[in-house]
């Protein structure tokens, strides 16, 4: 079972390594982790996707909270948040196939970032299922390189992730 966590952390050196180390040493399985600064440059926000049962996720949440630079941890409720991941794909395709691949890109909502005689590079933002579909559609042409950033998530509605513990 996959769970998505939003984590506010102090934007200082070493925080990512503390979080990563915690997952490694406690044996938690991390699916993806994305991090970047928030509207407040002193605070970064991580979106972590964890694979595990409820007991594991409870421990992940509690153990993350024990890290001093961690300000807030929230396990997002399924269906109550939106998420997306970013993907760059370099597809092998001869010039005569460009139109076909561009059609797939258009249908899936992927943007063309680079055109070369023997390849096309696409940028796609969507959820995991959509990324999967796009990759399936492109596989026949030859996937040369796939680069995926972890999922980022935000809760639906006007609720905010407040930066205080407790």
């Amino acid at each position: 079972m996959k769970h998505t966590l939003s984590v506010l952390v102090e934007n200082q050196p070493g925080v990512l390594s503390r979080v990563a180390n915690l997952f490694a040493r406690r044996g938690f399985n991390i699916d993806s982790l994305a991090v970047g600064t928030t509207q407040n440059p002193k605070i970064s926000r991580m979106t972590i996707v964890v694979d595990g049962d409820d007991h594991i996720v409870e421990q992940v949440e509690k153990q993350l909270n024990k890290l001093i630079p961690v300000i807030k941890v929230k396990v997002l409720e399924p269906e109550k948040f939106v998420c997306c991941e970013l993907m760059l794909v370099k597809v092998a395709c001869k010039s005569r196939q460009h139109a076909e691949v561009l059609n797939v890109a258009r249908l899936m909502g992927a943007d063309v970032m680079d055109v070369a005689p023997a390849s096309l590079t696409l940028r796609f933002a969507g959820n995991e299922d959509q990324s999967h579909t796009l990759l399936e559609l492109l596989t026949p042409y030859g996937l040369r390189e796939v680069v995926r950033a972890g999922s980022i998530a935000i809760e639906k509605g006007s609720g905010l992730l407040k930066n205080n513990k407790e």
């Binding site: 070493g14 390594s17 180390n21 007991h55 421990q59 509690k62 930066n163 513990k165 407790e166």
Partner: protein, 542 residues
């Protein structure tokens, strides 16, 4: 202008630090120079690991953070086992390490080690200080983090150039402001009420007293809660000594090496109040069996401990002292536990006393000797045991009334007792401090005999010599068809001669009668003392 090193010393002074344990080296020299100008006493250990252990013993005896200092590279890495030991037992510790100059960081220069990285898994928090101006804030935060909530070690790594840098002036912050750190003190009112109801309804309630009760200084509250409500108490190894062992409500130590009657009480109880006990594997073998028959109330200041090892019915996150106080207020009348207490008393009386001395064997029988030794010791004595058979013998046979029982319960670090005893004695010079160790553990920190002499700490050492790593040998014998590699200590030195070389008075006992007589002499003597007890290499742990 003031240097970073001077600021470090002023920070320690601001935290009322009187004593630090350490070992100097190039990268920490500016700090040592400033330290020598202050009134803070420095105790030179003989290996850095023991600086951390000594600071741990000091912290446990005094109830405030202990401070240890080492240089960069090997000095820092030697500290690691001591830091990890403190982490596992939730001991407040400030570890200060020197680091190479910042412009050399990451270049693998002489005596460079990424100590904050290496200690990440067993520090409560760590700092690599980049500018001297940050030092006051970092020290304030470090002491706050180490000593509040669930206590633990905090590492401060300080490059040499930060120590020598000049800063305008020194100002120590009055408060530590950390957005992500606010330990909970009061338990949730609803949970406390639910817990009180469960205890009131219970017919066979049981308190499990863990090390968290000691950390929270909740001894009086726990004793009075148990007494007022007539609730029996069992203890984990880390909680030993909280409940006076001669109390009619005390029923021994639980766990793999605990008292059988205490373990039976765990299984027979219908409501268990876990107080600052993390239900480690050595304390509770099969938590599921207990949760099936009992309502579990778990009080802990660390939310992550609740539900980690055992399913809990009523979780209460908070400071144990505060929670027990509010819980006591919710108990207008005590549950009727007369029959339950009577049953446990009967079972305790029936359980056999382990170990009886036999004459003319040439050996001291450890458990009966420890019983009589504890009767000879002062009521508030601090007993520090090492790890192995000596630890279990001491834990199960010592009678702690108003004193302390200190040991490395979590990490099980051999060699802990001697340096920790030095720290405890220097922290509490007026209390009797007795260190108990085996010949395996003793040889791991034997070098600290020099620290003992130099510091003038009046530590009495009881060395149980069986010329064997007894506990491991026993395990090998049982589980590996009697093949027992690498557990014979045939190279044991003549300990009496060794003590003599350090100028420490000593004596050798080879029977319970001689051990008791010599222990009496040891306790009356001035200064340190080494009592070597010959123990049957085949003496069982239990």
């Amino acid at each position: 202008m003031i240097t970073g090193a001077e600021i470090m010393v002023k920070c320690l002074e601001s935290e009322q630090v009187e004593l630090v344990f350490g070992y100097p080296g190039a990268a920490i020299c500016p700090f040592y120079d400033s330290l020598s100008q202050s009134s803070i006493r420095h105790v030179l250990v003989r290996q850095e690991q023991n600086a951390a252990h000594a600071a741990s013993g000091y912290a446990r005896a005094c109830g405030k953070p202990g401070v240890c200092v080492a240089t960069s590279g090997p000095g820092a890495t030697n500290l690691i086992t001591g830091i990890a030991t403190a982490y596992m037992d939730s001991i407040p510790l400030i570890a200060i390490t020197g680091q190479v100059n910042q412009w050399l960081l990451g270049r693998d220069v002489f005596q460079e080690a990424d100590i904050t990285g290496a200690c990440e898994s067993f520090t409560k928090h760590s700092y690599l200080v980049k500018t001297a101006a940050d030092l006051p804030r970092v020290f304030k935060e470090a002491f706050h983090i180490a000593s509040t909530g669930r206590p633990g070690p905090v590492l401060i790594d300080i490059p040499t150039d930060v120590q020598t840098a000049q800063v305008e002036a020194f100002a120590y912050p009055r408060k530590a402001e950390i957005a992500g750190y606010r330990p909970r003190i009061q338990g949730h009112a609803v949970q406390v009420r639910r817990a009180a109801e469960a205890v009131r309804r219970a017919r066979c309630p049981l308190i499990v007293c863990g090390g968290g009760v000691v950390s929270a200084a909740a001894r009086e509250e726990l004793i009075s809660f148990a007494k007022e409500n007539q609730i029996p108490v069992v203890s984990t190894m880390m909680g030993l000594g909280v409940m006076p062992m001669d109390s009619p409500l005390y029923f021994g130590m639980i766990g793999m090496h605990g008292h059988e009657n205490a373990n039976r009480a765990m299984h027979a109880a219908d409501c268990i109040l876990l107080c600052g006990a993390r239900v480690g594997d050595r304390a509770v073998g099969d938590p599921k069996k207990i949760t099936q028959t009992s309502t579990i109330i778990h009080i802990d200041v660390d939310p992550a401990e609740i539900g980690k090892n055992m399913t809990v019915n009523i979780p209460i996150v908070g400071d144990i002292r505060a929670v027990l106080e509010s819980l006591a207020k919710q108990m207008p009348d005590a549950p009727d536990t007369g029959a339950w207490v009577q049953r446990l008393t009967h079972e305790k009386a029936e359980s056999a006393v382990c170990g009886t001395p036999e004459p003319h064997t040439g050996f001291v029988e450890p458990r009966s000797f420890f019983r009589s030794l504890s009767a000879k010791m002062e009521e508030n004595a601090i007993l520090i045991s090492d790890v192995g058979q000596n630890q279990i013998w001491a834990a199960s046979s010592f009678n702690v009334k108003r004193g302390r029982f200190l040991t490395s319960g979590g990490l099980g670090t051999m060699g802990y007792s001697l340096p920790a005893a030095v720290g405890a004695k220097l922290g509490k010079p007026n209390r009797q401090v007795v260190c108990i160790c085996g010949d395996g553990a003793f040889q791991m920190s034997m070098c600290e005999l020099a620290t003992l002499c130099e510091s003038g700490a009046e530590v009495k050492i009881v060395l149980m010599q069986n010329s064997r790593l007894g506990m491991v040998w026993e395990l090998q014998n049982k589980q590996f068809e009697g093949r027992c590699p690498a557990t014979e200590l045939t190279g044991d030195p003549d300990y009496i001669a060794l003590a003599g070389a350090y100028g420490i008075p000593s004596a050798l006992a080879d029977s319970n009668e001689s051990a008791e007589r010599l222990a009496g002499q040891m306790l009356k003597s001035k200064g340190p003392f080494l009592l070597v007890c010959r123990v049957d290499p085949c003496a069982p742990t239990l």
